[in-house]
Symmetry: D4
Subunit: 212 residues, 8 copies
């Protein structure tokens, strides 16, 4: 126990080591989510896609039976993700069971996987647990993922954290990747302005004062 | 009591009789709101502005001491509202105490006032109670307004409803003004797609099925 | 005020005076509801349909643009409602604006209207306010109706109650219509068993004890 | 409207004018309640029974089909209520439909009825609305009543308040009946000590300080 | 109904017509409050006392049996209230039953009574209903009052609003009394800075920008 | 710590290695559950029983003193479970203390135990901790289990997860067992249609579009 | 990680190895608790004291500066605990820093410590962490403990669980100690009847059925 | 697992080993916090600053781009902190990436770091994880920190606790540092009086009783 509290390695996200996995954010499955307000979930998913674009993260998106009720990849992702690899699964619930998906992940040549999807307790948890087993570091973006109810989310998080996954908000992902505002201040501010309304208003008040 | 339950007149919103009043949606005051998530409030305020545009509602916006900490009119309103009359109050807390504001409202020549603002219990409630006293019908857009906490909102609503105001969501405002999809189906759908993510996904699934 | 507290007429539901109006319970619109858990809403809608069947209430159902994303009438209603009149609206948001609907309501020859639908603040509220204006008694089944968020529901209820509508649960509707268990004890018990799990378990425990 | 705000008569509870109606607090029906914690509901029902005893309120209790799953009158009521009239209904859901019950109420010769029961939206609401129609003043003890969910309670309260009923907590009932501590200080304090743990602790701290 | 929605008189608070009634904010009774966090309630009570000072409102404070467990008037009130009349009740639960209290209220020569206290459903509600009956306008400061649980508060508010009382937050009280920032801008800002932390921070950011 | 984050073995559920343990889902004990709505809990328990049927999981059900107030096994389980072994305990609270139960579990010859029951903090937690100690993998179905209040559930989950149990929703259990839709698409869809109303509606909308 | 999921030792409570530690349940400190309703906390503390009596657990109670505002040991504990050792601390916040307390604990000669108190994040957490360090097994009764707000409780539990403590409800403590109803069925039932109202009602319904 | 439950070292805070890190409590960033009420957060931050003063903790405060919208260090901190080292970061999001900050931390010569800031999931979590990696003990003051929403906070805490951080309330920090009231009773009481209103009222009641 003593050693557990000391010198825990901090595997922080690094834009050159990280890839983004988008798991089953589909227009039908979106309707199943009841642990976030729909407006919040949509906003958070958009933010995550904008992060991928800003940091040029290699991205693998996957969908489950998108010709049926599950529906196509969410439109905001289709519009924002820059040339993602899209793996259309015909049946595997755990995307890691799909060889093409695993191959696509490997091809990114990254060891840090940022994972989000629908639902948190199924598609996200299964990929996360498989990826951890395969030796990847996994960062679960909890606010850009959703499940049928809050209880399911809490249990799934406990399961994933116990296995070694890091739960993060999209805001923490962006900040950990950016590290320093001077790296790309306009880029980071734009993320905030587009997805954190209070921050947009802080800037607007600030500008107004400066203009006086 | 018996008569109270019978034959209540339904004063429904009518695009030719209604005007929109935007009360103190300012970048500083926005920070005071804690009865909605910021993302939800921003979304709802945008939706209301888009309604004004879609139905060409005469709009009177007003701000309170915008050169100071209260800040300028919210940027999303500045961008979306088509040539609103803006009344900059230097001190009156109740906009109805400002002659220019009342004159601007009168000039719209409308008897139905759609009111939203920050905060619900102060700026919105005061204008609402004054306008009711002056003989207007008042429709308070509760989800595009905000206050310091949920308790304040509940009390303010009880006060306004008791005095004869109608509480409505922006979605109800849009629907009551539109009346019939055939009036402007693309316009109504765009409102929904832009501000109700689930509805956007319904359409997206629908289109995907049709395209197959 | 003194008189207001005294001798309020109690217009209670009566199975020979009541009709049921089902407003836009459609498979697409169901996805918009976020003020109930989906499991609860489904259960409550089923219960209401079973009430209609049990009491042989004349029923008018209506849908809005069901060929599009709004989707068809909920399957559980199609299966349970005994030959309802179905009015398919091509555009009117307020069903009361549709002459065929109003005609169908009149044809029921009932003055008490039990109303439920999606969403509470739009389709339900508009029909309710129109029906009250037309002189009907209106009973809104709040737990078999749903809206985008809890705030919208609260405002819509305040608006409808102020205009004279009675908010009720499906359980209250069933009880007020039944009046006396001896009228149809198996029928009433079946409603409870099918839709109130605790009550089912009370009966099950009771039977087990009796069998010993 | 102006007059509505002025000079509202305050019909306050009076121990010589009030009677208590206990509606279907039965061991089976208790299990249906999910808008209070069971511990809170039990505590509040006990408090109300102790009030009846303290003020010697004539009490009419009624049960619905108590030989079946609904179960017998709650044990804490059987123990505490001083010789209540108990009306065992064989079928009427609204106790006011039972002639013996109405007769028992009339026999109390009181015009103020304090009502509590299970469930708030059915047995309590129906008796309340009937009693108001019959010209009684009705005081609904909301925290000693319960329903299947919070939404049902909120709707039922709006319905009853609109018809002229007064919602009260048991603590308000006790206080309005007592009027003055000097009337019976030990009696009032005992109520508080037995049912409001914080108050018991205030007294305990007070005594400890005085004893030093 | 039609007239009810039109021309409701707006009895707004006026610093020359209003008095403040402080009902049983005592150090012991404070412990009973569980519908606010203690930190919030303390803050709101302080704000209300500061309002009295700022507007020089005649103030009548009353306590109930303060030598016993109920405890003395809250220290923050003793420090802030400028020479209030304090009526120490030896037994009356409803302060309006105490002749000295009513006399003190009359002596203020004001017709608008701002009322706050502990608990909302007992001491506040009783005074409010009595004062309404006596022809006063009553404004209940809900966030500077508290009760044993949220359910009790909701019922008490419904009862008081039905009888004609206005529920308000302290922030609304301050704003309605002040009417115009130019009346006393430093005074109004100080209220906000001392009791609305976000507003303090808005000012701090604003000043910092101006100083640059 | 470094190693803890890496290469965690993912012991995923496997239909040939898993058995289901149903612990004290009895009609009396069901009434004790207050951390789920009764409708949700009933739905989730049914879903879990249907999973057992679909995957032909060997099932051991157990009850505690079912001749008394605890009541018989829930009727929905009696109807759905295909010939489960039922162990009727006369006294042991922890089913693992009952030799017949342990023998029945061993006889399934499975090493993965899916556990659900009432209550989460007692009967479920005790069996889980005993089974973990005996070397089994344990998967606790949190949404098909219930306890007296949310606080008890949270503590029990922390205890079980710390000891190595996996918390899962029934939906995750079904998905992890199924692995691939192509395995049995009608079976998996039926589970969803019967127990996830939103999913049923997705399918219904989909079919309607296809039929056009 | 692999081993962590396997064969976790289950240190279950044993009536011959367990002692109860009651930490600062004082009439003043009770007022600080805002993460439980006061009625629930009082009930749970009583239940825990009754457990100590039923199982004749050696009990060490301690208080902090009970002559001052913290107040005396809660009256329900003084009445129920059978001759507990009471250690009155004059200053040490962590009771483990008081030699007399540690000595009293050692003197119980038990290695399993059941701990409850006020507040969870201070007095309970400190004793728990000290006792774990000293090699005891510690079982924290979360529902018989309380803190200033829910956030503080959550953090304190995470800290204690991470260090190896077991969070339990009083119901789980009673059940784990009892192990088998046949050990003392009347004793166990009495605990339930006295502290779990639903269970009392189950029994009451059961008896009523049997008596018929 | 067996050893994990035994003999966990309790690294308790020690006033001679601890330093305080204040991370980005800035007037602009304060507006982003929506997992606490603003009044609570302000109160908790003040309490933490008063702790630093009372215990003369070496304090390192840091700000992020304070000339822009993030704003200056919160005024209550500027006023209360006794000569803190302030490190103004021009760009690094993780303060630990700023050499001057790390140097300042080292210069305190303390191994226990008490950390609070805005936001919990970004600035606080990053510093915490870096400091743990560097071998420090880290104590995160959760109630004096804040984030955009409750979900982000929960995930961040899980991440930090998994890595070995201790979550604590400011009240626990004060108590663990003080250890014994006799060390500085006036100091400890003042902390409570100034920041825990209930405690202030306990003292006030106590004094009043003693004065009688």
């Amino acid at each position: 126990m003593e050693t557990e509290r000391a010198k825990a390695k901090y595997d922080r996200l690094n834009k050159d080591e990280a890839a983004l996995l988008i798991i089953d954010h589909q227009s039908g499955l979106f309707q199943l989510v009841h642990d976030h307000s729909p407006v919040d979930l949509e906003q958070n998913v958009c933010a995550l896609a904008d992060i991928a674009k800003l940091f040029k993260l290699p991205t693998v998106a996957t969908t489950s039976k998108e010709d049926g009720p599950n529906g196509p990849l969410m439109p905001v992702l289709r519009e924002r993700l820059p040339n993602p690899k899209i793996v259309r699964r015909e049946g595997e619930i755990n995307a890691w069971d799909n060889a093409e998906f695993v191959k696509a992940v490997k091809k990114t040549n990254r060891k840090q996987l940022i994972v989000a999807g629908i639902t948190t307790d199924v598609c996200v948890a299964f990929v996360t647990l498989s990826a951890l087993e395969a030796g990847y570091k996994v960062y679960v973006v909890t606010d850009a993922s959703g499940s049928l109810c809050i209880g399911s989310t809490a249990g799934a998080l406990a399961r994933m954290v116990h296995a070694g996954a890091c739960p993060m908000s999209w805001f923490a992902v962006a900040s950990e990747l950016m590290r320093d505002w001077r790296e790309d201040e306009p880029g980071f501010k734009k993320l905030m302005v587009d997805h954190v309304p209070n921050y947009k208003h802080l800037i607007d008040s600030y500008k107004a004062n400066k203009e006086d």
